[in-house]
């Protein structure tokens, strides 16, 4: 477990295997909450937060409960359960002890419960046989990759709104999807990037 491998995981999660633009996970909030940069940042931070904690907790449950009982085949179901409960718990905890953070993330937290990027990251952690530290790092940096993608996309959409020089038929979601595709193409440029 060296710094290099941690850095390699981080780089992979943020750029090379960006959750939204390369693995196409979490597309729903990516398209839904990206009309303004402010909301995009809020959503991105909330996803980062939940992905990090979910990776940690799911690894613990997988390692100490599911694996000893030979129940790996129930991982998906168990993870969904964990994420849903975890998000609820975090929301309550934040509301009481960190009202500032709660206000900042408030609306976005419940939305994340059903975000497939969160489920995706914990399943990938298991698939790649990451240990506790690697899982958590992958979760947090995967969230940062989501944050990067959604903020970039929100700024693209803001500019599109300001200067609508595309055919009228493309107004709204079509042009958003086209620009999301172009952004995704740009991220293809990172494929093959590796750290030794």
């Amino acid at each position: 477990m060296s710094i290099t491998s941690i850095f390699s995981i981080a780089l992979g999660a943020i750029l090379v295997e960006n959750f939204v633009l390369v693995q196409f996970l979490g597309i729903c909030p990516f398209l839904g909450v990206s009309k303004k940069q402010d909301t995009a940042i809020g959503m991105g931070l909330a996803v980062t937060f939940v992905m990090g904690i979910a990776s940690l907790v799911c690894w613990l449950v997988n390692y100490y409960v599911l694996v000893p009982l030979n129940m790996e085949f129930m991982q998906t179901v168990a993870y969904i359960l964990i994420i849903a409960a975890l998000v609820q718990f975090i929301e309550m905890f934040l509301q009481k002890s960190m009202p500032g953070l709660y206000l900042a993330l408030g609306i976005y937290l419940p939305l994340i419960t059903t975000n497939c990027a969160v489920l995706g990251v914990v399943l990938l952690n298991t698939q790649k046989n990451y240990n506790l530290l690697e899982s958590t790092v992958y979760g947090i940096t995967g969230g940062l990759g989501f944050l990067l993608a959604i903020v970039l996309f929100a700024s693209v959409r803001e500019r599109l709104d300001a200067s609508a020089e595309y055919p009228k038929a493309f107004d709204g979601f079509p042009v958003a999807l086209v620009s999301a595709g172009l952004l995704s193409l740009a991220f293809m440029g990172f494929s093959g990037l590796k750290v030794w």
């Binding site: 129930m74 359960l81 009481k96 300001a162």
Partner: protein, 274 residues
């Protein structure tokens, strides 16, 4: 029995996980319960729910919390007006404070009547235009760029572009003042609803300069000052300013202004009827 284990074990384990999580959440709900004042919920129910931020608090829930904690007065909600003020005061058990209704006003009537340095081709956004060469296409550095950044922030559809200049619909405007904060030229001000005669210019340039720059600019000639029967107008820094407290909306200045930039709601209405 061994054959049934793979079926029962997951049920037990997942059921156990679910029970544990449920218990933890139940305890957490009690432990982390946030004491909320009942009145906060009630006030939130009355508020318009536009979350415009015109009160200076983050959304309607922020305002409700601020009223209960005493940080805000009951008349803080501009959107709800006197009705909401009365209801909120009722919940709080205090006398309602009177709130004079305020509306936004764009202090420029240039638009198509103002001169341009060049044709601006770029984003339909006042901030972008302001960053273009020479601070934007307008020759007058005070005037409305007419690209409608304010019309897009208005949640109530009260702002629109008329002849290349933003205009406020007084009836739709609720006084949340989002546009005031947005306009990069700080052209939009808050005026009492009762103030019906307004100077549609914000130029502090000298008269001779204004004549060259814009056909709809105040040259500070003072004709309105001389003709006002109520001493409500003064010229300050080459710009006529009407004091809403003294103005009786007689409309004499509207007729006398050689530049036709003082506008009256009354005259607009008369025109509309014709």
């Amino acid at each position: 029995m061994d054959a049934l284990l793979p079926i029962f074990l997951p049920v037990v384990v997942l059921g156990g996980l679910g029970t544990v999580f449920g218990a933890v959440l139940g305890v957490a709900a009690k432990k982390f319960a946030v004491d909320k004042d009942e009145r906060e919920e009630q006030i939130l129910g009355i508020l318009p729910g536009a979350n415009c931020g015109g009160c200076g608090f983050p959304g309607c829930s922020g305002f409700a919390a601020a009223v209960v904690s005493g940080e805000a007065t009951t008349n803080g909600c501009a959107v709800g007006g006197s009705e909401v003020t009365a209801l909120v005061a009722g919940i709080m058990g205090v006398e309602p404070e009177d709130a004079e209704r305020h509306v936004a006003f764009v202090r420029c009537s240039g638009g198509a009547r103002s001169n341009r340095k060049y044709d601006y081709v770029g984003l339909d956004d006042c901030f972008s235009a302001l960053n273009a060469i020479g601070g934007g296409p307008l020759t007058c550095r005070f005037g409305c760029l007419g690209l409608g950044s304010c019309t897009r922030v208005c949640q109530f559809g009260a702002l629109s572009l008329v002849n290349g200049v933003a205009k406020v619909n007084r009836e739709k405007c609720v006084g949340c003042m989002q546009c005031v904060a947005t306009c990069p030229k700080r052209l939009i001000t808050k005026l009492p609803y009762s103030s019906e005669t307004r100077v549609g210019c914000n130029s502090h340039a000298r008269g001779a300069a204004v004549r060259k720059l814009c056909e709809a600019g105040c040259i500070g000639c003072g004709i309105c000052v001389k003709n006002c029967p109520n001493d409500a107008i003064r010229v300050e820094d080459n710009l006529a300013i009407i004091d809403p407290a003294k103005c009786h909306n007689c409309g004499i200045c509207v007729e006398k202004c050689p530049r036709h930039i003082i506008e009256s709601v009354v005259s607009v209405r008369a025109e509309a009827k014709v």
